[in-house]
């Protein structure tokens, strides 16, 4: 079709239209027309917001205050010297490492289990994915009750083996693991789905050849399945880090950051700064710093894991 549009009838002069567009440009326009709705929303609600946040971080910006003095890098300077920021960052890192590890392992194990040709395979897949459908509010409230020191089911079960009530959400050493456990249960369904897709993409001949060569289940898993899942693992860990680094609802609902500041996370602290203290400028500086850290971590993951990935 593109060729015919440029052909001319012999003997007749080439007719040129004033708005004639060449093929390349026409494709370019079509592509951007398709992209336009998304780009419009992306520009207004993401790009504009990001630019506004960066701009805001250079001001002493309080919502209803009539003046918003420019403070340059003062907010970033304050951030570097803010011990609560560092506590929150450390807690967030610990939480993220525990949770990403947990969701990745549990997601992989579950995926391997429900990929086997078993009766009711679809039912098990749905069942395991169900917690992911819950809101953070529901998950938080359920687990506050499960982990309740006095009335919780978990402590009740542990009491049968002689373990005294554990203050899961009240001990500084336990609170982050408890929040992580909650989050792993809630979110491992997504990695499981991704791993199922990854497992189904592995050629069956490899397994058959391995079995003929006498490989056992463990050898097959570690020599075939795991290496060929590396791109999937990369995707799961990168998206997991991005997601769990922004943990907010769980500490807000389950611990309000306590005991003390033992479960303060970066976004929880950001919420306090911006929406309790109403210091939007400083809050924006925290948000920008968090975005930079997450970008660096993602880059690091790509470099580190990508080295051994075979696509």
């Amino acid at each position: 079709m593109s060729q015919s549009s440029t052909m001319t009838t012999p003997g007749r002069p080439k007719r040129r239209f004033p708005f004639e567009i060449d093929l390349k440009r026409r494709e370019w326009i079509a592509a951007y027309l398709f992209l336009a709705p998304f780009l419009l929303f992306f520009s207004v609600f993401v790009v504009r917001a990001v630019i506004a946040a960066v701009e805001m971080s250079f001001y002493d910006w309080q919502i209803l205050r009539p003046t918003r003095p420019f403070v340059g890098l003062d907010n970033y300077n304050e951030l570097l010297n803010d011990d609560v920021w560092w506590i929150s960052l450390k807690n967030t890192l610990v939480f993220t490492v525990m949770t990403v590890t947990g969701t990745t392992i549990l997601g992989l194990v579950s995926a391997v289990a429900v990929t086997r040709p078993i009766k009711g395979q679809g039912f098990y897949r749905v069942l395991l994915y169900m917690p992911s459908l819950l809101s953070v509010g529901a998950v938080g409230l359920i687990w506050v009750w499960l982990l309740n020191t006095q009335f919780g089911v978990i402590n009740y079960i542990l009491s049968f083996i002689g373990i005294r009530p554990i203050n899961w959400l009240g001990e500084p050493e336990l609170v982050l693991p408890a929040l992580s456990l909650t989050t792993i249960w809630w979110t491992f369904g997504f990695p499981m789905l991704i791993f199922i897709a990854g497992l189904q993409a592995i050629p069956q001949q490899l397994y058959e050849a391995a079995r003929i060569d006498g490989a056992n289940g463990l050898q097959i898993f570690f020599r075939i399945t795991l290496p060929l899942l590396r791109p999937t693992i990369l995707f799961v860990t990168v998206t997991g880090v991005i997601s769990h680094f922004q943990v907010f609802g769980q500490p807000l609902i389950m611990t309000t950051g306590g005991p003390g500041r033992s479960s303060y996370t970066v976004i929880y602290y950001l919420y306090q700064i911006a929406w309790t203290a109403f210091r939007m400028g400083y809050g924006a500086a925290v948000a920008v710093a968090l975005a930079v850290i997450m970008a660096l971590m993602t880059l690091f993951q790509f470099i580190f894991i990508n080295r051994r990935v075979e696509y």
């Binding site: 579950s110 429900v114 359920i142 006095q150 009240g170 203290a277």
Partner: protein, 441 residues
């Protein structure tokens, strides 16, 4: 390998079933947080943070109001307090605030400083209006002012007291009708008799096992900040210096007040640590003898039908009695004019003149005449605790950055009450952080 995986999978499925089924079985009727009352032509919006039974009481009052004023429709929106502060600010920026809203006296300076509150002086009798200035306590009246201008109308006084489990008192050989102790040592002795281990030994017994407590005498974790502010006043201390320039939580008075609370946990073993203890449900389950709570607990206590409870005055740990109280107050955007303003004034006036009905929420009506009119049989806790507010209550501190100051104080109190910092460390850190807030504002 796969056998192991099957076992793990079975466990995971069981866990998922255990956890998901209760969610699916939950009551599907959500609590309504937006109510449209009446069908009059003049529609006014009203935002507040009364998420407990007090919100239900107020909506019942407003239903009566619109029945008497059929030309007015009131749309109430109940939002958790912390969300309300943010929502209000965003609404003011957007130029679309509610027609009337309710906050606390302590937040009057914050919103007053934004210049968004209407001068309500003309509604007070001192300004030629209908609300009698002399029918509320002086401290409540002061709490309605920002820089000398009356910008709010008080609805109530709500504050701290105790609820006791009468049966536990009697089982411990204590008379629930006795005069409460007036010294820290007296309270410790009381709490020790009410704290029991699994073998039935109380906390004063040499055989008492603090690792195996089945009944606590007291709980320091029930809103520690207001407990601390009351105890601080009892020691003669305050949150900031008289001129408002210096944070004084780490004064000798502050250290003594907080140390006494910490000692109830770690020295006398009569209270669990602050974090991870569910005070209201422990009281309802009969494992907590004395709960420090507030006027708002009245209706909650009635839901614990198996618990024979009653209100007691706030404990006196220091040389002088003292307790924390706050005040809910009506505020109106400065921009509101015309018939909506008239309707809002009619609404506030109606509720103010019917404040006795507000006592059903558990709170103490702000008007002294309404307090005097309360029926002693129906409202014993309102009367008892309200008397304390009048006699020795300390109104919550008001400041333009009060939320930020409390956000700095609360984690430090938690650190001390959970044994993560010494009292001095916690209060010094709190003072440093709060001072930075003061200096910035």
């Amino acid at each position: 390998m796969f056998k192991r995986l099957s076992f793990v999978t079975t466990l995971v499925i069981l866990a998922a079933l255990i956890l998901v089924v209760p969610v699916m079985a939950q009551d599907e009727e959500p609590t309504a947080d937006v109510s449209v009352l009446g069908s009059g032509d003049i529609s006014i919006s009203f935002w507040n943070g009364l998420t407990g039974s007090d919100g239900v009481t107020l909506n019942e009052m407003l239903a009566n109001f619109v029945a008497e004023n059929p030309e007015i429709t009131v749309t109430t929106e109940i939002v958790a307090w912390n969300d309300l502060y943010a929502k209000l600010q965003a609404a003011f920026v957007a130029g679309n605030p509610p027609d009337v809203f309710m906050l606390h006296a302590s937040e009057v300076p914050q919103f007053g400083s934004y210049g968004v509150l209407k001068d309500l002086g003309p509604w007070y009798t001192s300004g030629g209006g209908w609300f009698p200035d002399d029918d509320i306590s002086e401290s409540t009246l002061n709490g309605m002012m920002y820089e000398g201008t009356l910008v709010a109308i008080p609805l109530d006084n709500h504050g701290r007291g105790l609820w006791i489990n009468v049966d536990m008192f009697e089982a411990a050989g204590l008379d629930p009708d006795m005069d409460p102790p007036t010294t820290y040592e007296g309270w410790v002795d009381l709490f020790q008799q009410l704290t029991l281990d699994a073998d039935g030994n109380n906390a004063a017994s040499p055989d008492f096992d603090p690792e195996n407590v089945v009944q606590w005498g007291y709980a320091v974790g029930e809103w520690p900040r207001v407990n601390f502010l009351g105890a601080l006043a009892q020691q003669g201390g305050s949150l900031v210096s008289e001129d408002g320039s210096t944070v004084t939580v780490n004064s000798e008075a502050g250290i003594t007040a907080l140390q006494q609370a910490v000692d109830l946990v770690y020295e006398y073993n009569v209270s669990p640590p602050e974090a991870g203890f569910d005070t209201w449900n422990a009281f309802g389950a009969g494992t907590l003898a004395v709960i420090p709570t507030g006027t708002w607990f009245r209706n909650q206590a009635e839901t614990f039908s198996d618990i024979n409870s009653r209100a007691w005055p706030a404990p006196q740990f220091g040389p002088e009695p003292g307790t924390w109280f706050g005040a809910h107050a009506w505020m109106v955007p400065a921009s509101l004019e015309g018939e909506k303003l008239d309707a809002v004034e009619t609404l506030i006036q109606w509720v103010s003149e019917n404040q006795v009905a507000w006592a059903a929420s558990g709170q103490v009506p702000a008007r002294l005449s309404a307090q005097a009119a309360l029926d002693a049989d129906n409202y014993p806790s309102n009367i008892l605790l309200g008397q304390g507010f009048s006699d020795y209550g300390v109104l919550d501190y008001g400041h333009v950055a009060i939320q930020e100051m409390y956000a700095a104080l609360d984690p430090e109190l938690s650190e001390a009450l959970n044994g993560l910092k010494t009292v001095e460390e916690a209060l010094n850190d709190a003072a440093e952080r709060m001072q930075a807030v003061l200096d910035r504002n």
